[in-house]
Symmetry: C2
Subunit: 154 residues, 2 copies
């Protein structure tokens, strides 16, 4: 049994689903496709140099969880490997947390495998970190501390 | 160019993300894992006989989009094939729509490929339908008309 069982590690930190990441090979084509089908326009688009990704966010009317279309920039081996192996498709599931540093500390202390031991800059100015997919049986989970929350704490 | 381009087909029908589907081989094990890691308890669990699936919903505190853990019952070839090919992982992305019949009618009229031409019963008493993954470059999209909305219309 994994060492983190039955501890509800992040129970007081998880707010909800922040976004669902969909990996796409052609950002323009996919943004047009999702917009035309679902009527969700791109609310925000940026290149996140430190992650070597281009991201476009489609924000549904209810103001809740969003869709992130994510495409690899040159030098991003992880997303390129994903596209080569599986093609376009669902890539990761991101949860909003109130304190990402505290969340990572608890996960590390419980020996949960992490891809990021410390938060890194993500799209929209948020702080993000990824768990190792082995920690959740193959689903790549991202944690997001939203920049607006961070700003309110200052 | 696909026939449905630039039509914002479902612009006035899509409410937001209803849930993210995660296919799992062992429901008890996975429900315990997600609960222990994220502190999200199973809010609802049921077997949907008509779909040959067992489903468990983890509802985050913000009351927004949820996670559906979904596991195949005997005779479900689609989910069993998914597990054999990819193992546990992200399976589908479900959008809440205000009128699923109207949504399917528009999609069919625009020659968008559908797995379900008419809605079928889903978990929690909702009406659901799946688009063919080829319609969205490999992401399996589900439409959900929530039973509470349906009830309010009566």
């Amino acid at each position: 049994m994994a060492p983190h069982r039955n501890q509800n590690l992040l129970a007081d930190l998880v707010v909800g689903i922040d976004h669902v990441g969909v990996c796409v090979a052609d950002m323009d084509e996919s943004a047009a496709l999702w917009s035309s089908l679902l009527g969700l326009a791109v609310a925000h688009r940026e290149c996140v140099d430190v992650q070597r990704t281009e991201a476009a966010f489609l924000d549904p009317p209810d103001g809740g969880a969003t869709i992130e279309l994510v495409s690899p920039m040159a030098g991003n081996t992880g997303l390129n490997k994903f596209l080569q192996t599986r093609g376009d498709g669902l890539h990761h599931l991101a949860f909003a947390v109130s304190d990402i540093g505290e969340a990572l500390g608890r996960l590390a202390a419980a020996n949960v495998r992490l891809l990021d031991a410390v938060p890194r800059p993500g799209a929209r100015g948020h702080k993000v970190a990824f768990l190792h997919p082995a920690a959740t049986h193959g689903t790549l989970v991202e944690l997001v501390e939203r920049s607006s929350q961070h700003g309110e704490e200052k």
